[in-house]
Symmetry: C2
Subunit: 240 residues, 2 copies
């Protein structure tokens, strides 16, 4: 049974790093003693060491060990031996390129789908868990070999959802961007998650965690809400 | 001599479509009677016909005819016969994919560099005039065959520049995104343009048009201003 926790963001409001997500993380890791393998590849403006130093204390306070993959000589073997991985946020394009460079895309995807590996990601780490990075908010600062990603969720997710647009500027609102995705990809739908929300996946079912509903974008200017804390069949949302 | 006008945006403040840019457009087209070939491929949420209907009246009021490439049966031949093209804004990924699909990338790039074709673009139309789409603000809603673009400007441009970030949200500011680009691509610099600004290219020289300076991002957290209306050597800014 696939088990995955796809979080919109590392922070909610003024809370600390992953502070809003303690219960969400326990729900995936089940309070069992273990060492989580951390993937820091989305970090661009700071080092992998610094990223690990931000994340490790959070997991330690929850009773879990954490080790970053940049310390190991054979990343593929490390993924094969891991019981759980945590994929941190940052830039989605850098993250996916580095996953391809390290030949980790297929092995992560397969082990998660075969329920040999529990997957946790936030922000960019949730983007790469979908069929592709087509609904990331990030700048394409580097070109990955393909937009194709891990497909742990069978549909696209837009993290860090925020409605409307800043005043006095002519960029698009998030809704306009997602409408463009749905126009360009008319057979697909997507799930947008407010900061602090997450999609919890258990096999073929999903649950929105957090205080807010998930936003189910079905077509341009056509959307529904998915209530938090209620299981739904993942195939309710049309995927790639 | 290459002649190109790369505008940050189609609008400035509350002005109408391209209303701020009348003098900029005359500077490129030199008040000479001509038919401008319009490329509407960045349009996603509305039709190519609708896009042409927005843009044609602006050019007509300035004394120029305009015809959209989506009416012609042979787009490559149309580009070969044109004296000037205008590439409208919208989604940069859709635009570049459609330019590749129509086999227009090389022919536009070569004709502009050989001074056989004057180039005008705004927003996405300026992004694709640089070495790649790595500094677009747009969502990657569709995958082009490559990020490589027209290379009319020898360095990356970030259009629609706006400082800071919206309150209460944990996304990155524009400066943070551009810092990430510069961190990931340490041999390159870039030019950010506020809305209403443009880069005017004459052969190996550039001039910032509009009321505001251009922003020359040299390295993470290191930037300079380039004053408006003063020629500078384009190779001052390190390109790809």
């Amino acid at each position: 049974m696939t088990q995955a926790l796809l979080m919109s963001s590392s922070r909610m409001g003024n809370l600390g790093y992953l502070e809003h997500a303690h219960d969400q993380i326990h729900r995936l890791l089940k309070q069992q003693q273990q060492t989580v393998l951390f993937i820091p590849y989305a970090a661009v403006a700071f080092s992998f060491d610094d990223f690990e130093d931000i994340v490790r204390p959070v997991f330690k306070s929850l009773g879990y060990q954490l080790k970053s993959i940049h310390h190991v000589s054979d990343p593929v073997a490390a993924v094969k031996q891991a019981d759980a991985i945590a994929v941190g946020g940052g830039n989605t394009f850098a993250l996916l390129k580095r996953l391809y460079d390290a030949q980790l895309v297929d092995v992560i995807s397969q082990r998660v789908k075969q329920n040999e590996l529990a997957y946790m990601g936030w922000s960019a780490g949730s983007n790469v868990a979908t069929p592709s990075l087509r609904t990331t908010n990030d700048m394409p600062i580097v070109q990955p070999p393909s937009f194709k990603a891990l497909s742990i969720a069978p549909f696209q997710i837009n993290p860090h959802f925020i409605p409307g647009k800043p005043a006095g500027h002519n960029g698009e609102s998030r809704e306009e961007r997602l409408n463009e995705f749905l126009t360009m990809n008319p057979t697909e739908e997507l799930l947008a998650l407010y900061e602090g929300s997450a999609l919890f996946i258990e096999d073929e079912f999903g649950t929105i965690l957090g205080e807010k509903s998930g936003l189910w974008f079905k077509a341009p200017n056509q959307r529904d809400e998915i209530a938090a804390n209620q299981r739904f069949a993942l195939n309710m949302i049309k995927g790639a």
